[in-house]
């Protein structure tokens, strides 16, 4: 494992039995797991290259139990890692040997649906798809649709600011969340926002979303729901070069069209997908675009025509527009199966997640091919083309000596390149442990210290999910630079950490 986690605290390890007993007094019955076999399912999340059994697992059934567990852990200096459905691709829910793993899966009820104000109130363990399923009979849906939506939890979506193929038009989790209840590590329960559009005060909701379990534990969310678009149509467009496909993307947006989704695949990804699901993808192209338009039927038809024209001008060598729902779904079938399809080409693959300015796409893909030759590892690319979010899939074999390390080095080179061309390390998967040590590529020490000071305002003892996101752990006291003016602090009543 290339990433080094903070060394476990021996005194916590020694208190394991005592901690289990104390937590059993809060969550009775089978809500506390401390036997080796029981812990195994929790030892990794979606980033399976990293594994670590937790100290123990606690599965509370009520927000009050969450609060009591955190309060106890805070008082006794025990670290806590929160976990939703465990689908994080960046190791956000990777356990620590000396931390309690707090699973939210039993908080799985939808508490309220309000069609007049168009919102759903749900507990964090409800799956993303279940939110949509609860309202679809009335013609509504919840817009963010990460590919893991049948499994991933809405609380985990908040922690990771999850997106999905439709976030180009409808936004990420952060743009669809109205309010939440969070429990601080002290056990204190705070409600932020609610059923109105703009909550008062500082935008704490804005920083809780995407905070990767470092600031608090979400015990309730209020999300907005939207009326389902009347119809959707998709175009499947093949190009002889990535440049031509990129030009089509740029000109579509320049024409004032924000598609519901705009996905690109390169030749290796197209071939793998076609071999896997026979979606009818053209095999003589270098790049394939799927452009989805949604809205009233006349709008879809109008925009399909516009995109067809743009695509032809950009040099499309194959072009199909879906005429019915089954054809639209078929267009998507290959893209949706792209990861498992690529997975058939090699024993293992490593999925990256950088974002770049769209104009840099041809250059970045050229560089990826150079890296691929250098590391002697194949790469296939799927790409949320509309918002510049790249998912290179690096193929390797973990059983071959040194290949995992090579794949990781390749991945790091890709992410450095993303930052160099004006992009970022992660567009939607999160930093977690995976990209933690690359944070200095994007941020200076001052930048990172400012972020950690914010964490200290929520978690002064650094007990929540330590070892994630930040490459260097600071004690809060080190970060505070105190100025004493005229012999006194400006706010002597405030804790300084």
């Amino acid at each position: 494992m290339a990433i080094v986690m903070p060394p476990p605290d021996p005194s916590t390890l020694a208190r394991r039995r005592e901690i289990a007993a104390a937590l059993r007094a809060i969550v009775p019955g089978e809500g506390v797991i401390d036997d080796g076999d029981g812990l195994r399912p929790y030892e990794s999340d979606g980033l399976t290259a990293y594994r670590q059994p937790p100290l123990l697992v606690v599965l509370p059934e009520t927000p009050a139990q969450v609060s009591a567990v955190l309060e106890w852990c805070h008082r006794h200096d025990v670290k806590v890692v929160a976990r939703g459905a465990g689908t994080s691709l960046s190791g956000g829910a990777l356990p620590l040997a000396d931390a309690v793993l707090l699973g939210l899966s039993k908080l799985n009820r939808i508490l309220d649906i309000d069609y007049d104000d168009r919102l759903v109130v749900a507990q964090p363990g409800v799956t993303n798809l279940a939110v949509t399923q609860a309202v679809e009979a009335r013609g509504f849906y919840y817009a963010p649709d990460p590919s893991s939506q049948i499994a991933c939890s809405i609380g985990g979506n908040v922690a990771e600011n999850s997106g999905g193929v439709h976030c180009l038009k409808y936004g990420l989790t952060t743009n669809n969340l109205l309010g939440c209840e969070i429990v601080l590590i002290s056990g204190e329960v705070i409600r932020i926002g609610g059923r109105q559009l703009d909550p008062p005060g500082l935008d704490l909701l804005g920083i809780i979303v995407g905070s990767e379990g470092l600031l608090g534990v979400v015990t309730e969310v209020t999300v907005r729901i939207l009326p389902k678009p009347e119809t959707a149509r998709a175009l499947l467009i093949g190009f002889a070069s990535v440049d031509a496909a990129a030009q089509c993307v740029a000109e579509t947006m320049a024409a004032g069209i924000i598609p519901a989704g705009m996905e690109m695949m390169d030749r290796p990804a197209i071939r793998a997908a076609e071999a896997f699901v026979n979606a009818g993808y053209p095999l003589n192209v270098e790049a394939l675009l799927i452009v989805e338009l949604d809205g009233p039927l006349v709008e879809c038809d109008h925009l399909v025509e516009m995109v067809e024209r743009i695509a032809r001008n950009a040099g499309a060598i194959s072009l199909r527009a879906s005429v019915d729902e089954s054809e639209r779904i078929a267009f998507w079938a290959g893209r949706k199966a792209a990861f498992p399809a690529v997975g058939r080409l090699a024993p293992d693959y490593y999925c990256m997640d950088g974002t770049i300015p769209r104009r840099q796409l041809p250059y970045v893909l050229d560089q990826l091919n150079i890296f691929s030759r250098h590391y002697e590892l194949p790469v296939a690319n799927v790409f949320h083309a509309g918002d510049g979010n790249l998912h290179p899939l690096i193929l390797y074999d973990a059983n071959k000596r040194g290949e995992l390390e090579k794949a990781e080095a390749f991945g790091e080179d890709i992410l450095r390149l993303c930052v160099q061309v004006g992009g970022v390390l992660t567009g939607e998967h999160g930093v977690g442990v995976e990209k933690r040590d690359l944070m200095p590529e994007m941020f200076s020490e001052v930048d990172l210290n400012q972020q950690q000071r914010l964490k200290c305002a929520f978690d002064p003892k650094s007990l929540l999910n330590p070892g994630k996101v930040f490459p260097k752990l600071h004690r809060c006291a080190e970060l505070g630079r105190m100025h004493v003016h005229r012999g006194h602090n400006s706010h002597p009543e405030l804790p300084r950490f």
């Binding site: 309000d114 804005g206 320049a254 069209i257 974002t355 949320h384 918002d387 567009g427 400012q450």
Partner: protein
Amino acid sequence: MQPRFYPSCEREIIEIVSNALCSGDRLTIAGGGSKQQIGRSVDCSLISLGHLNGVMDHDPAELVLTARPGTPLKEIEALIAGERQMLAFEPYDHAPIFGGVPGTATIGGIFAAAVAGSRRLTAGRARDHLLGVRAISGQGELFISGAKVVKNVTGFDLPKLLAGSWGRLGIITELTMKLLPRPETTATCLVMGLDPSAAIGAMAKAMGSQADVSCAAYRPSSAKQTAICAFRVEGFAPSVESRCGKLHALLAGHGEIVRAGQREADAFWGDMRSLASLPISSPLWRVNLPPSNAPSFLHDVAAEPGQYLMDWAGGLIWLATPCPAECVRAAAGRRGGHAMLIRADVGTRRDVDAFHPQPPGLAALEERVRRAFDPDSIFETGRF
């Protein structure tokens, strides 16, 4: 007279902040000054960011723009209008409601106060369009957060926190914002003669439909005019036609529906911005609440027609009322919302906090967050 600073680069700002840290001075930050009459009037050093201006980067194909905070909003709007683009949240210019000339607001002020207009209902808040910042903290340290791409989850999302912080966390020195294509066609449909409850019902129905309305607002009846519930429909021409048709069918039972002419539509949406129809003799409140609670709130504060306007399908009420502040705030709180005091005489502003008070736990957390950026409270001027 307290000192005024007009820095034109980040180093000068760092020096001003460092000096304030030594001397114990407090700093208030201004852009174009269009919101200066919100909150208590304070007597402290002022940093005006008007000289830190200019668009630094605008690549129309990327739908992203980077500017310094002192850039006038109207300059940015003119520049991007030329590319048929817009700031979709409809930046809200406060100058007219204080009797000022529209267009003095700066982009830094717009985001620092996170103020959005009618399209906020569907396009999101100002913060949803702020992608990245450079800023100087209360420790005099320059930090960056966010980036120049639309999809990014790398580290805490500090741009969101800085948006709407009213200059209490740091001094923003550069902003990168998301642009969207300007709609090709816009139509406004009016439903005439509804009372506020019926208007809320009509707006909820429209928002829950496939008419894909971008703005929904209500102006109660006056001596001269009947009540108007207005829906703005935007997009490509065939789609706008189709959706206006849907809206007609949907609301046929609610009242007389007409398509507004250009001038009538401009006047209505202009009134939602200037609030010119509200009396200037009473304190002006901006009340956010769940839309379905709007009628009961209006009843609680005994709002007369002519004293209020509703935007955001009823989720935003502009209220000019002689009711005491406690009464407005208690009613807003009871109905799941909050009330910000926007315009009032100096005495009222001295006695009444501009921001709705928060529950103690949340207020304490906000305080800790502010101290994480400004440990010596140099941006705590007493204005809020």
